[in-house]
């Protein structure tokens, strides 16, 4: 089915999120939409899916004008959408979730569970998915959950499929699998809209590329364009894809972790006897496939985990056993991996979120009273410094685009007086321009003598930032290798095996200085 958008305009108050956007997606085509954070990509897709009413313009399917009053009607017309945040019910099975969609479309009569199961199996077989119809959603890894979303869309015969940043939460392997699926769907004649910030993915699958900026279509790009060309088209200036940095000049060991063990709330050993140190002025990247204990490790550092054994020392003072408040006051900056869940209060304004972890003391609070004047000045400053695209500092954070939400978290943490920075997935959902900016800020923090831990599942990011790399697997550290270690070695380690190459896990990682500055071109 051919999808055509004509002159779609969507305004939020005085902000024009979509300004007369016209776009055609042919059947059997993967159409990528590129654009910086807040360019209006998600808004456009929400209009297409009937979640938001357009102010102007029309949607055509096979040259017929459509009027969607809600997602139900969009689904019936053959549009499917895979959101970045899945809309599945965790305590239902796969089949039940797939069926639920049918019910909500008002499909005639009952659909019994057996039929839903059959449908799941059919579609799974067709595309080679490995999905058990009776598995509970909450037990499935994100990659599989996403497949359930795809099955859900396909089960009601979606002829146009929209993927809004589907890969932000996937492992590289899951991403590759998703792209294979997308190609299969395309070959079967589905029209696909694919939104992502990762240029590598764009170049790999896109048949056509449309670039958006500030709510407008600014042009088309060819899939053969280089990363740099795509990036500059998107942001409107040239972008440094790999941050330039000096060699680290590590000082004394600042953070020391010895024998750290974490047991989670259901009694599982999630971090197993981990020891490492981070020196002042160096970046230790923690690499690994999502779910190998990285999250719990960072949470333990911050005092968020209940059952922790072992020692954590920052500048010689123990951190273990302190309350979160005291850990923060000791100068630990924390960028949580899930900003919606742990980093922001969606209903709060930008200004309020910027003081979220400083609600106890000066300068934001004096004598128990909020210092609103100071807060406004501070927020205005940070909004412009971190280039948060917003109409005002009083805008609720929940209405910002994903990337701009992330910038608010970064602005809050990086503007504190830090003695340690723990950043989990700091650039998740950011556009290339913002990634450049954030990487620069993190390197800047390092150069000012702050020890930095960056947890990332993106090898590109690990590559760009790390002075040393600790690879985690099943709760343990497989090894710590110098920054710039090649991807094959890292890949082997991420699978839990020791690389046989002896130059890999260096006994004293600091003898390898100087390499990090020249990295980047190889990739």
């Amino acid at each position: 089915m051919k999808l055509e958008l004509r002159g779609i305009t969507k305004r939020f108050g005085s902000l024009t999120a979509n300004d007369h956007i016209s776009l055609t997606v042919e059947p059997g085509e993967i159409h990528c939409i590129l654009g910086e954070n807040g360019a209006g990509k998600s808004t456009l897709m929400n209009v297409l899916y009937g979640l938001l009413p357009a102010d102007e313009g029309e949607i055509l399917l096979d040259d017929e004008v459509q009027h969607f009053e809600g997602p139900g009607e969009a689904m019936k017309a053959g549009i499917g959408m895979v959101h970045q945040h899945f809309m599945l019910i965790p305590v239902f099975t796969v089949a039940e979730n797939v069926m639920l969609g049918h019910e909500s479309t008002g499909f005639a009569g009952f659909l019994n569970l057996n039929e839903a199961r059959k449908r799941v199996r059919e579609i799974s077989a067709q595309f080679g998915f490995d999905v058990d119809p009776d598995a509970l959603i909450e037990d499935l890894p994100v990659g599989v959950q996403q497949r359930v979303e795809i099955i859900k869309a396909l089960s009601r015969d979606a002829k146009v499929l929209v993927f809004d940043e589907p890969t932000a939460v996937l492992t590289p392997q899951e991403t590759d699998e998703l792209m294979t699926i997308m190609r299969q769907l395309r070959d079967a004649g589905t029209a696909i809209v694919f939104i992502t910030h990762k240029l590598r993915e764009v170049r790999e699958v896109a048949d056509r590329i449309t670039v958006m900026r500030l709510g407008k279509v600014v042009g088309e790009a060819s899939p053969t364009a280089s990363n740099a060309e795509l990036a500059s088209l998107m942001v409107g200036r040239s972008v440094e894809l790999t941050v330039q940095k000096q060699a680290a000049r590590p000082g004394d060991p600042a953070l020391q972790v010895r024998g750290l063990t974490v047991i989670d709330h259901i009694g599982q050993l999630v971090v197993n006897d981990v020891s490492f140190e981070v020196r002042a002025g160096e970046i230790l990247a923690i690499a690994g496939v999502q779910g190998n204990g990285q999250t719990e490790l960072t949470e333990a550092l911050l005092g968020l985990q209940q059952h922790v054994e072992g020692e954590i020392e920052l500048d010689g003072n123990p951190l273990s056993g302190l309350s979160v408040r005291n850990v923060l006051d000791a100068g630990v900056g924390f960028i949580p991996e899930d900003r919606n869940e742990d980093g922001l209060v969606a209903e709060f304004s930008i200004a309020e979120n910027l003081m979220l972890d400083r609600s106890d003391s000066a300068p934001f609070v004096k004598g128990g009273t909020l210092q609103l004047g100071f807060r406004s000045t501070f927020a205005a400053e940070k909004v412009s410094e971190f280039d948060v695209r917003t109409q005002s500092i009083d805008t609720a954070v929940g209405t910002l685009s994903g990337g701009n939400q992330q910038k608010v978290v970064l602005a809050r943490e990086l503007s504190r007086d830090l003695r340690l920075l723990v950043a989990a997935q700091p650039t998740r959902g950011l556009d290339v321009g913002s990634i450049e900016f954030v990487h620069k800020r993190i390197v800047q923090a390092r150069d000012s003598g702050i020890p930095v831990i960056v947890v990332s599942t993106e090898l590109d990011e690990v590559d760009a930032l790390a002075d040393r790399i600790a690879v985690m697997y099943r709760g343990g550290i497989v090894g710590i290798v110098p920054g710039g270690t090649d991807r094959e070695t890292l890949g082997i380690m991420m699978a839990g095996e020791q690389p046989d190459d002896p130059n890999g896990p260096a006994p004293d990682p600091h003898d390898d200085e100087g390499r990090s500055g020249t990295r980047g071109e190889a990739a």
Binding site: G13, H20, D55, L370
Partner: protein
């Protein structure tokens, strides 16, 4: 037409930004926000008011009154009689409906606001002061419950907290002989503390054990009820000397809240306390560090915890303050309106009405104040409506309940009145109500 707009769209794309979009706005006559920022702000404000909660609250009240009118009409014997010969003389039925409904609502008004039957202004305005008297405890208790809502806590233990607070402030009120102003202040503080302790127990249980505050506060209601009933029957405890009735002694004059506008009105200084409490709670929630933490925990406890806010202590403090405010409602009752001694029914359902008041006021202090006055008016007017028109006071309860129902279902009210959904531009067609819910989850 579609060709036309397509051409303009491309013109807008190629032209300079401002000029391009202004052109389109002029030619298509669409609702592009004007360039003048002032106008913009007014537009936004208007849309916020229309789409927002304020109008919904008012319309909920209006709708409830309309449904109440229908109920009054269909249950009235006169209307039923006239309806019996509707097809021969339909006018009679409408006349009867008009008579009973207008009679009922005019009594409601005269009982609550101004009685036109009285010769002087000072006598005529008396119903309004009664309204404020009834509103006084509803406002403070509503503030307490609303503060809980803002912290994400459902304090439905108002009854228990009021009973304990009544015992505290009453006991101070009749057993000690303190100098005038001091006695009153001590008694008021005791009432606050009593409510705070009782709600604080629920807070500690929730923070320490994770017990749900709804269950705990309900249980504490019963515990308080039987405890106070027992003490009121026990000589030497709360029972008045030389009587067998389960009733407390009268409050000593020094501990009584003095009348605000002289002895001919019931309205007492408790109303001033309610005004002050409204301001203090507003300050607490919007301007203080503690309130900031309350709201953070209420909206996203996970993010609050990661930001170093102790969720447990926030829960305890929020319930303590909430209970203290509810306790002030008991102070109004014991030291203000029923100073001759109280029984175990002293809470008069205020603890539960407060939930409605807080909901209607959207948990905002000013809103709660207005909602409290409205409910006070229903109470004051309801009595006259029953006495003068023989309409059961239950109708007032039905109207109150309907208000809650409509408040809880904004899409319903929006659909009935064809209001725009918040976050969208005004359109001719009403978007499906379900879209709003999905919009919210879409992000």
């Amino acid at each position: 037409m579609s060709d036309d707009s397509g051409a303009q769209a491309s013109a807008a794309e190629t032209g300079t930004e401002a000029a391009g979009s202004a052109d389109v706005a002029l030619e298509t006559g669409s609702q592009v926000p004007p360039d003048d920022p002032n106008d913009n702000r007014w537009n936004d404000a208007l849309r916020q008011i229309l789409g927002g909660s304020f109008v919904i609250s008012i319309l909920a009240v209006v709708l409830a009154l309309i449904v109440g009118a229908i109920l009054i009409a269909v249950t009235d014997p006169g209307v039923q009689q006239a309806a019996g010969y509707f097809f021969s003389r339909p006018g009679d039925t409408f006349q009867a409906i008009w008579n009973v409904v207008s009679g009922a609502y005019s009594s409601l008004f005269q009982g609550a606001i101004y009685n036109f039957g009285r010769p002087t202004f000072s006598a005529g305005i008396r119903p309004f002061t009664d309204t404020l008297t009834y509103a006084t405890p509803l406002i403070v208790a509503g503030l307490g419950v609303g503060l809980g809502f803002r912290t994400g806590l459902f304090n439905i233990g108002g009854q228990g907290q009021m009973l304990i607070a009544a015992a505290f402030c009453g006991w101070i009120g009749w057993s000690f002989d303190l100098p005038p102003v001091l006695h009153l202040i001590v008694a008021i503080v005791a009432g606050f503390v009593g409510g705070a302790i009782w709600a604080g127990i629920a807070g500690v249980l929730k923070a320490r054990t994770g017990a749900h505050e709804v269950i705990v506060t309900i249980m504490l209601n019963w515990i308080a009820f039987y405890l106070i009933s027992y003490l009121l029957r026990t000589p030497g405890a709360l029972q008045e000397h030389g009587t067998n009735n389960p009733k407390s002694p009268a409050i000593l004059p020094n501990a009584i809240l003095p009348p605000l506008f002289g002895p001919q009105y019931q309205l007492h200084w408790g109303f001033v306390i309610s005004i002050a409490a409204t301001i203090v709670v507003w300050w607490l929630l919007e301007r203080s560090s503690l309130g900031f933490k309350f709201r953070a925990v209420g909206e996203n406890p996970n993010a609050a915890r990661v930001a170093g806010i102790s969720v447990k202590s926030v829960i305890i403090w929020a319930l303590v303050i909430s209970g203290g405010l509810v306790g002030l409602a008991a102070v109004d009752q014991v030291l203000g309106t029923t100073t001759g001694g109280f029984s175990s029914g002293i809470d008069a359902g205020i603890g539960f009405d407060a939930i409605t008041v807080a909901l209607l006021g959207r948990s905002r202090p000013i809103g709660i104040f207005v909602a409290g006055v409205l409910f006070g008016a229903f109470k004051a007017g309801g009595f006259l409506m029953q006495a003068a028109n023989n309409i059961p006071i239950d109708i007032v309860l039905v109207v109150q309940s309907l208000i809650v129902l409509f408040i809880a279902a904004p899409p319903l009210v929006r659909a009935i009145f064809r209001l725009p959904t918040p976050g969208s531009k005004p359109r001719t067609k009403t978007p499906a109500p379900t879209a709003t819910a999905e919009e919210a989850t879409a992000k």
